[in-house]
């Protein structure tokens, strides 16, 4: 190294951080913006197509059933409790806590995917029946795609977490996956209201 210049020594800086300090958090935020916009477009299209019909759902089309979708949305809302605990455990670098809550998340993911199947059936309309059916399926389906990807990722991550190769930065990854979870469940609460409750008062 040349002498005589000021050196800023960064060797003492930490190697793992949480939240907006971390790059991965911003990457996750970016994808949330993209996916959020796409889900917003589905909802906007839903309202736009509503204008083409006298009644909603259209005549001779059943309203969606509410049982399974409501179970799903309540479960999703509740899952944010453990999710918060996961974030706390991650910040505290508490490996056992993180393992426990991520495992729970993985199980929940599988449950959500299974319930999503029921939700499609609860729409009580085929996607090719009319534009109403099409947009309802498209909206639920798009969210389902994200859900399946999230489930896949969580399963891989869970398996990995139970190996012996955990480093500090994986706590940050766990924290970010919880961050994404808020988006998944939060966006579903909104879409549930639109797709499943909407036909009752639109």
């Amino acid at each position: 190294m040349r002498t005589g210049r000021t050196l800023i020594d960064v060797s003492r800086l930490p190697t793992a951080t949480f939240g907006p300090r971390d790059m991965m958090w911003w990457g996750t935020a970016g994808f949330i913006m993209i996916e959020g916009t796409t889900l917003f477009i589905c909802a906007a299209t839903y309202f736009y197509l509503r204008l083409n019909f006298g009644t909603w759902p259209p005549q001779h089309t059943l309203r969606p059933s509410l049982l399974w979708p409501t179970v799903q949305v309540v479960l999703m809302a509740l899952s944010n409790g453990p999710n918060l605990l996961l974030q706390r455990a991650a910040r505290a670098l508490d490996l056992n806590g993180v393992r426990r809550w991520v495992l729970l998340e993985a199980i929940l993911c599988v449950v959500f995917v299974a319930l999503r199947w029921q939700e499609f059936l609860s729409l009580n309309v085929r996607w090719d029946a009319n534009a109403y059916g099409s947009i309802a399926w498209a909206t639920v389906g798009l969210h389902a795609t994200l859900l399946v990807l999230q489930a896949l990722e969580t399963l891989v991550f869970t398996t990995f977490l139970f190996s012996d190769r955990i480093e500090e930065k994986h706590f940050s990854d766990a924290y970010d996956s919880a961050f994404y979870w808020y988006f998944m469940t939060g966006s579903w609460v909104v879409l549930y209201v639109v797709v499943f409750l909407g036909p009752r008062f639109m």
Binding site: M1, R2, G4, R5, T6, L7, I8, D9, V10, S11, R12, L13, P14, T15, A16, T17, P20, R21, D22, M23, W26, G27, G30, F31, M33, I34, T37, T38, I41, C42, T45, Y48, L49, N52, F53, P58, W127, D128, A129, N130, A131, Y132, G133, S134, I135, W137, A138, L142, L149, L152, E153, V156, F157, F160, R165, E167, K169, H170
Partner: protein, 635 residues
């Protein structure tokens, strides 16, 4: 690769060992280095420009005289559709993103982009999508419903077969690539800037890239939804755009243009950034009115989202709506006007060097102004109703896109070529290239205004002699020949200079931004010591004994992460290794999307390889690599 001046050879060797790619084909396939990816991205996009140009050349040949028999109507439809689609989705947006992916990390003093594997994935997906389109064109099953594929024409009823599905899927590939690139740029700019480069010291090009990236983030999902809905209508019988079942044809236009208008600015905004860097360098002073410039970029980004309806003035939208969108269309001239004013002020105060990059900037101002004038004309509803779907629009859109996009881009090529290759392009050939290009472009497209006024509709494969459109069309075709000559000259220049060009050194133009503070081409790790920025013009403002960062590890890939606003050192981040998973994941994505064109079962077929590559990618193996490296070092 030799170390840069003042870099300890031992340190250089250590950094080189952990940062460089493996050699050979395998190294190329697994590379996650932003310069390597960026370079092939730029080259690929330029090849698509040439292919799009080839389509255009064929169209111009066909239109050269009335009742020409060179190309039939079906082929012609494919040609203009593939031309428009190529130029917008496979050339303009990707090449702007690619320039960002190559130069932004260098300009902010980073070692690589934020997510290098994602970056490689984006490139491969884009390459597969573009190739798919051209394979279909060669098989005579290219899309034929225009670059915005309006329904009902593009719906299942009027366009059976797989042509429109090909179009929709090609666009999907490019959307993914663009979105990935945008996230990449945003996080690199937010978190990887060199210490001292607070937001208000960022080069204007980096600002432009940031604005572009955000625009992509909010605009691309609209076309993504549109193409997804279209594919669903065609493939599984949904009715989103089918009025008979309560769907809506106009919905397509809203979705498409809510993306399509910002799209033009996604191309234009980065070009503005390029212009600023070039003006600043060749007048040797910082661009006048930095805060105004930044605010104009941001305003342009915002305003561009309020303009989509001006593409739909003839669809019978309410009067009040039209007036609003007319007003908004005039408004967007304001931030652009401010920028042009600031550049003129900069040039006025400095002593400009009339190099080739600078010439292209002057060409940009002239050409873009003409496009701006015709734009102001069609922003008014009554005029638009006359000009709609005529060659007046074709003239306008090319003046805007070529003037506002391709002129600055050529300037940028001349400006940055020495950084990428280590050699300068020939100025003499460059002047010829510029002159021919300027003449050719104007000769091709100016007559189209007149043709439009005389009633020639766009997208017609031929016309009758009695229309009197022959001479002007011939003129336009002669112009296109000159354009071709100029591009050939450019290619010759690129090829010759690669071997024979004069050595560039670190900073041949005496430019102010950080990329010029390392060797040309830069080493795999970009900067031996992460620089510390002391002013807006990083290299001009730095003190003789400027501070640098030390303490990053040299026995593994490690980067410095800084704070968002002030770029203060925050933490160190382990950077992933090169890997083949992005390529494999892109291939799986390709299998999924392409089989989906032919059968809904594609979802089932495609999901298996995609899941596997997802797992392969997601499974953290870095530590093994790091240990391996350390063992190698110990041995």
């Amino acid at each position: 690769m030799t170390p840069a001046v003042g870099v300890d050879p031992g340190e250089h060797a250590a950094l080189e060992r952990v940062w460089r790619d493996r050699t050979g084909l395998w190294g190329w396939l697994t590379s996650t280095e932003h310069k390597s990816i960026g370079k092939r991205y730029i080259i690929t996009a330029f090849v698509f420009f040439l292919l799009g140009g080839l389509n255009a050349g064929l169209m111009r040949a066909q239109l050269a005289r009335p009742e020409n028999g060179l190309i039939g109507p079906d082929r012609y439809n494919q040609l203009f559709t593939v031309h428009g689609t190529t130029m917008m989705f496979l050339f303009a947006v990707p090449i702007m993103t690619a320039m960002g992916l190559y130069f932004v990390p260098l300009m902010v003093g980073a070692r690589n982009v934020a997510f290098p594997r994602l970056n490689a994935y984006g490139y491969w997906v884009y390459l597969i999508g573009g190739t798919f389109l051209y394979v279909q064109l060669l098989l005579n099953t290219g899309p034929d419903t225009g670059w915005f594929s309006y329904v009902p024409l593009a719906g299942p009823g009027f366009s059976p077969g797989k042509r429109v599905d090909t179009w929709a899927q090609t666009v999907t590939f490019t959307e993914i690539a663009a979105l990935v690139g945008a996230v990449e740029l945003i996080v690199t700019i937010f978190k990887n800037r060199a210490p001292g480069m607070s937001l208000n010291r960022m080069p204007l090009f980096v600002w432009a890239m940031l604005v572009m990236a955000f625009m992509i983030l909010f605009a691309m999902p609209w076309v993504a939804s549109a193409t997804l809905f279209l594919a669903m209508d065609r493939l599984i019988g949904t009715h989103l755009f089918n009025p008979a079942e309560g769907g809506d044809a106009l919905l397509w236009q809203h979705l498409f243009w809510f993306f399509g208008h910002p799209e033009v600015y996604i191309i234009f905004v980065p070009a503005l950034g390029m212009v600023s860097e070039i003006v600043s360098t060749f007048t040797r002073r910082p661009v006048f009115g930095y805060p105004a410039m930044v605010l104009s970029l941001i305003t342009t980004g915002f305003l561009s989202f309020s303009l989509w309806v001006h593409h739909m003035f003839v669809t019978g939208i309410p009067e009040l709506g039209s007036s609003f969108f007319t007003a908004a269309s005039f408004m967007i001239a304001i931030p652009t006007g401010i920028q042009i004013f600031c550049w003129i002020a900069t040039i006025w105060a400095g002593r400009p060097r009339l190099t080739v990059p600078f010439l292209f900037i002057l060409g940009f101002v002239v050409t873009f102004m003409i496009g701006g004038f015709s734009g102001v004309m069609i922003a008014s509803v009554p005029y638009d109703q006359q000009a709609h779907d005529t060659y007046f629009i074709v003239a306008h859109l090319h003046y805007v896109l070529l003037g506002g996009g391709v002129f600055p881009l050529f300037g940028a090529f001349y400006f940055w070529y020495p950084k990428i290759t280590g050699r300068l392009l020939s100025e003499r050939l460059g002047r010829w290239h510029f002159a021919l290009w300027f003449i050719g472009v104007n000769l091709t497209f100016f007559p189209m205004h007149l043709l439009g006024l005389r009633g020639m509709p766009r997208r017609v494969y031929t016309y009758l002699p009695e229309t009197g459109w022959g001479p002007l069309n011939l003129l336009a075709t002669i112009g296109a020949v000159i354009v071709v000559l100029s591009v050939v000259l450019f290619l010759v220049n690129v090829a010759l200079s690669r071997w024979k060009g004069s050595e560039a050194g670190e900073n041949p133009w005496d430019a102010p931004t950080l990329e010029w503070g390392t060797t040309s081409p830069p080493p795999s790790y970009n900067f031996a010591y992460v620089p510390v920025v002391e002013g807006r013009s990083a290299l001009w403002d730095r003190s003789p004994d400027h501070p640098v960062v030390t303490g990053l590890r040299t026995d593994m890939r490690e980067v410095l992460v800084t704070t968002l606003l002030d770029a203060e050192p925050d933490h160190r981040h382990r950077h992933p290794q090169s890997t083949v998973w992005p390529l494999l994941t892109a291939l799986s994505t390709g299998v999924l999307f392409i089989t989906l064109v032919y059968t809904p079962w594609g979802l089932v077929i495609g999901i298996v390889p995609l899941t596997i590559s997802f797992i392969g990618w997601g499974w953290p193996t870095e530590r093994d690599h790091q240990e391996q490296l350390r063992e190698e070092a110990a041995a």
